[in-house]
Amino acid sequence: MTLVSFWYVVLVLLWTGFLLLEGFDFGVGMLHRLVGRDEAGVQTAIRTIGPVWDGNEVWLIVVVAATFAAFPSWFATMLSGFYPVFLVVLVGLILRGVSFEFRSHSTDPRSRRLWSAALTVGSLVVPLGLGIVLGGLLGGLPIDSQQEFVGDVGDLFGLYSVVTGVTITLLCLVHGAAFLALRTADDLRSRALTAGRVVGPPAAVLVVVWTLWTRIASGNGVLLSVSEFGAVLAAIAAAVLLAGGREGAGFVATSLALAGVVVSLFSELAPRVMVSTLGAANDLTATGTASSPYTLGVMTVVLAVLLPVVVLYQWWAYRVFGGRVRTGLDQSTHPSGTSAEALVGGGRGSRINRPPLPRAGAGPPPKQPLGRLASWLLAWLAAWLIMRAVTAAVSADGDGPRGHV
């Protein structure tokens, strides 16, 4: 596998990870008023994503930054071409991001309603806009031979792009309903399941339509690829499972459906990265837009060092904040004890009652300042050693840095 195709696969994985994780908090954001109903319910619904949504959002930053670093020409054409869409997405992300904080700090019901509305609209607009961008990559934009977008705003909203956007948004909605059912109890859970039951079937129908359209329009006949077939099966399974009240399996199914859609889109797109409607000669390809092998090599090393760390702390966050969230602080009847209580009191800024860390062996308790200082120094030493090794490996590896200032 060449470095270019490796980084194409990395980007597909990053988009998949982003939609799997942020997808459910988009869904919860769209549903929190509807499922939460009263103030206590709304707060509980928001708390299910309170500690994790901003970590999930970082995946989008990584997607865009990795595109910038690995495929700069693709980044330039995509971001410039979809400028108005990205503006709307950014505004949605900003409003959504502040709504969590402002809502929890506002005292009067009117401003709570306002920030709730910001959360709902932001959570709807962002997956819709990003879905339109993803659809547009394959659906095609007027791109000239200089890799410049030469159309107007209307060209960004082709039918295929819009259908892709709506499909992804509906999948996020079902994904969020399953997550909300998984993380809540009693009335909230049953209302979340109802939402999943209602949105599940139309989402499945859209996935079938989208998949067939994608396959046929790519000129590969009607026989679906593995990922397309998987997306269809998973979307149907999600609708059936949620209708049967099985949110755990349903969440797995919505995750697979989202992953299937992203993988299908990018595998029909490869080896191109953006299709031009002005002739196949103007299509942007992965090799044609990629950075130099040196840049890709450095990025590969950085990825290998940092990705395990990111995966580890995200896993840790989900572990700490696991369990069902209930309204009120009723610990005695709590099946999962402290971890769920942490969420009830959760949200940033509040004092969190963390369960003690599981310790292997009898080390000194981590609260001692000297032990903390030592581990902090050790971490920096390790990071420095790794960077030294990486620098040595890279500068020994062939052409060396270009454009050295």
Binding site: A76, S80, G81, Y83, P84, L87, L90, V91, I94, L95, V98, F102, H105, E148, F149, V150, L182, R183, G248, F251, Y318, R319, G322, G323, R324, Q331, H334, P335, S336, G337, T338, S339, R351, N353, P355, P356, P358, G403, V405
Partner: protein
């Protein structure tokens, strides 16, 4: 004195950006060569107006909230003592 750090920070930023002109990457690329040909003046002005308006609103809300919380009296929170920790920490990831 409150606005001074904000002003100093902002002017420092403006100074570096202006000082680098006409380069966007010192010695490598001119700012005029870095501009996107496909993003027109209308799109730029629209985005500038939208983002400035949005950040102005957020700044006001932020200021009101900070002022409100600064004026509020401190309420002593119940301090958790180590002995009060639950005896059996349940640790059940649900997914």
């Amino acid at each position: 004195m409150l606005p001074v750090p904000f002003l100093v920070n902002t002017f420092g930023w403006i100074l570096t950006e202006n000082g680098r002109q006409p380069w966007i990457v010192q010695g490598l690329q001119k700012t005029q060569d870095a501009a996107s040909p496909s993003v027109g003046a209308t799109a730029l002005v629209t985005s500038l107006v939208v983002l400035v308006a949005l950040y102005a609103v957020l700044a006001v809300v932020d200021w009101v909230l900070m002022a409100r919380y600064a004026r509020r009296e401190l309420v002593s929170q119940p301090v958790e003592s180590p002995g009060e920790k639950p005896a059996k920490p349940a640790f059940e990831p649900s997914y």
